[in-house]
Amino acid sequence: MRYSALKVLMEGLRGHTGWKPAWRDPAPQTDYDYVIVGGGGHGLATAHYLAKVYKKARIAVLEKGWIGSGNVGRNTTIIRSNYLLDGNEPLYEFSLKLWEGLEQDLNYNAMVSQRGILNLCHSDAQRDAYRRRGNAMILNGADAELLDETQVREMAPFLDFENARFPIKGGLLQRRGGTVRHDAVAWGYARSADSYGVDIIQNCEVTGFKIEKGAIKGVETSRGYIGAKKVGVAVAGNSSRVMAMAGLRLPIESHVLQAFVSEGLKPVIPGVITFGAGHFYVSQSDKGGLVFGGDIDGYNSYAQRGNLPVVEDVLEGGMALMPMIGRARLLRMWGGLMDMSMDGSPFIDHTPIDGLYFNGGWCYGGFKATPASGYVFAHLLATDTPHETATMLRLDRFRSGAMIDEKGAGAQPNLH
């Protein structure tokens, strides 16, 4: 069923009796050509592109709970491609281009809103680093602008310029950055994948892999055994748990990242703004809530909740940057499980087991990468060769020393 303004109008007149389920609720078949483990944004996007672009069939997405119940439904909805290193930037720029065509591709309005992302800088060294990054972005075909203090004032006059502990010296602006309605991304991909015949199977937890002579044969699930020629795993914070069932140890730790939303307010904040001298970034949703976040709690965790010190740290940053929000109220806080990798960059690669592929280590960069991640993972599953934008995202890069360390923080996940 195609969505359109006319359709909405007609259904409105006939009491909405005509709307069909956005996706089917099929029982698992005995075997598939492709089984995607994880019904989050990345898994569903992978299924969509596998079916639509790579014309594959007999595809299933297995989700242990309800689709979109992971990080795609619990993040701060930001999209951007303002990365520095060649290992990352092409992938995220590819992702941003896919975002720009998403509504038409999916026939679903995920409210991709390119109102810009502004990274503030507070020192000369920080500006030098941003110039290096901005130039790298442009050289990779992305857009970037380096603003001075005056230009930042024009964009965001409500920032603290007069009484700031760390004065704002300027910022790196990517106008094509912005936000997307996060849940709708999962739903849009699910609906589209379903329309191409992909089986989306909810409440189906993978409990083991069947591996014979170093090759994958299928997966054990809470709904029985499902055979598969190829299995792709995209389970974010649960990567280590799931891959351990295949006997693999990963260069990944699971950490909690908290996110916050305020009560609804009339529009006050134009795009996305990030503080360069503290842990705080913010945007305002179409419903009016200030959506913000900061740093991860910093210790290994599988509990989808954080603790107060980080909340205070984030909001201290918020008040330091924009003291006008003091009388706005924090409405909700929640935590997501980040698959923090050892260099802060993701993996999209085959594993030592034939037919078993891994997509993870996204840290908190996962949401913005959803379309590209799905696309290039589908490419890898379909062709067994890495997509041109993801050639360096290998699992063995720490052995060779080819880290992709944007922050230069070294082998410590909670610093990325």
Binding site: R241, I252, G298, Y299, N300, N307, P309, Q412
Partner: protein, 95 residues
């Protein structure tokens, strides 16, 4: 969170800095044939368990002791806290 320091008693986790899996104490022999692989596994690979986890915390805003904390990563329950130096010595690192 509250970390029950073996010397100081309960202290707010805010005073500590987290470092990661306590296996980082078991630094491989740099002169072994397999040193490169050993150090790779040591520094980069993690069990990352959902459950009991031995991990390193540094009491930066306190007495600057490194601790080995045994914590359940699903419930955050802390079952054991010991001085890292004791833990390390017990594992034979007393040179």
């Amino acid at each position: 969170m509250i970390i029950n320091h073996p010397l100081l008693g309960p202290r707010d986790a805010q005073e500590f800095v987290y470092h990661g899996d306590a296996s980082l104490i078991d630094r491989p022999d740099a002169n072994a044939e397999t040193a490169l692989d050993d150090f790779h596994d040591y520094l980069y690979l993690r069990d990352n368990p959902a459950g009991s986890h031995k991990e390193l915390w540094f009491h930066e805003q306190g007495l600057r002791s490194w601790l080995v904390v045994t914590r359940d990563t699903t419930t955050q329950e802390i079952s054991l806290v010991e001085l890292a130096s004791d833990y390390a010595k017990r594992r034979g690192w007393d040179r």
